[in-house]
Symmetry: C2
Subunit: 261 residues, 2 copies
């Protein structure tokens, strides 16, 4: 083991308690940190965020000799599973510092961005961040009641997308009212078939809450209502798509059209 | 209350135990039943599957006077939450009989079908069933190790799609080898940009396991490899999309092209 500058620490009961405390938003907020688990995710995030401390098995550590982390605990599989929040712990977990992003709304003029109105499910949010990363969407504006991006389930579901996509929590009506001559899209059952519309390469795509969709106040500010056509149109079907699925299908179409230009 | 022909039963401890036992596949299989919860889902399924018994609050029952169910328990919110598997119980739960479908592979010649190779996450499977329903895909062929469609988390995530989409558990290599001159699609990082391909209105789209993708044996049987382009192509991104997201984006493109014909 040649992690020379690393201070190896035993994993104390207090530290396990600390890790578990990060399931709660108020604790993550007070400490300005978040938890990530698993080799792929931790490796990705180590390149982007300062790491407070890292807990890993001997096996994992022997393959990662030059870690940018001072505080490392080497643990057995059994100790790791006491610390982990996952059903199946995966070799390594780490606590990172939350980044602080400045919100500059001119990005909405210059690029395609997402807005999420009260998304509640942590997995949905993480999946949306992952697909935003795939489709080159770098900024997501979230209503204050949207689930916390640092919820451990969200972080896991981003699969590393959280390193490249920036989230901004802010009032969506205030945000949208401050935009001038910028397309604001949303998906509605009474919207226009999105395949018949010329979609822009900038602006905001608003996606709504899992049960209730986009709120009334935000809906009135949406100036381009889209519809994702079901198939065949006359067939009986479920009334809607999961919000992450709808986001993906819409983003894919924006990017298909953009690539044709 | 005018549910005249209904036999109202108190909710016994044994029945609560029975409901909870349905979390396990072996019990669902032995009893040939599955559990569904919440007003929208239960209403949808009552139209399609025989219901063994139903448990609901007085409030819900007062709005559903003509139930096609003989065995109904009227319960308080507190009793319902003891029976429910959900964190937030929703007025009603019901136990339905599992349908038995005959597997006729000629549907793959006549329509677009999905094949799932060892999908493990119950939520992913449910989400895929929901989107298949949206895109008019009526048959999904699943490898034997794919998660059980009657897992309660899967049933909930289908949002009623389980009433219209039929799942068949079978060996995918055997299935695909039995097809003749039928396009078999899959998504791969080295596939062809799907937007440049003419996609058929019949055949099989194979989607793989969350961690490992499509198995080697199945991969060799795929004759049309597709790629979902990321955007912009040169940008660093996550290595993949969630499997339900990828399924949705691919199905949407098949259906966009079909609607143009």
């Amino acid at each position: 083991m040649s992690n020379d500058n690393i201070q190896f620490m035993a994993l104390s009961k207090n530290r396990i308690k600390y890790i578990h405390s990060l399931e709660l938003k108020k604790n993550r907020k007070a400490e300005k940190v978040f938890l990530a688990e698993g080799p792929k995710l931790v490796n990705d995030l180590l390149e982007h965020f300062p790491c407070r401390f890292l807990v890993a098995t001997t096996d994992w550590l022997s393959q990662h000799l030059h870690l940018p982390v001072k505080d490392v605990s080497e643990v057995s599989d059994e100790e790791l599973s006491r610390a982990s929040l996952l059903k199946t712990p995966q070799q390594v977990l780490a606590v990172f510092e939350q980044p602080e992003y400045e919100t500059d709304i001119s990005v909405i003029n210059q690029s395609l961005c997402l807005a999420l109105d009260d998304i509640q499910d942590p997995g949905n949010l993480g999946t949306i961040i992952r697909l935003a990363d795939w489709f080159g969407i770098e900024h997501i504006f979230c209503s204050p009641n949207t689930v916390d991006v640092y919820n451990p389930k969200t972080v896991q579901a981003t699969m590393g997308g959280i390193a490249r996509v920036k989230l901004h929590y802010t009032s969506l009506p205030v945000l949208i009212r401050s935009l001038e001559n910028i397309p604001v899209y949303g998906t509605f059952l009474n919207g226009e078939n999105m395949y018949t519309q010329q979609l822009s390469s900038n602006g905001l795509i608003v996606m709504g809450n899992e049960g209730n969709g986009v709120g009334k106040e935000v809906e009135q500010l949406i100036n381009r209502k889209l519809y994702i056509p079901n198939y065949p149109v006359e067939r009986e079907t479920s009334e809607s798509l999961n919000v992450a699925i709808a986001t993906a299908v819409v983003c894919a179409e924006f990017r298909r059209q953009a690539a044709l230009l």
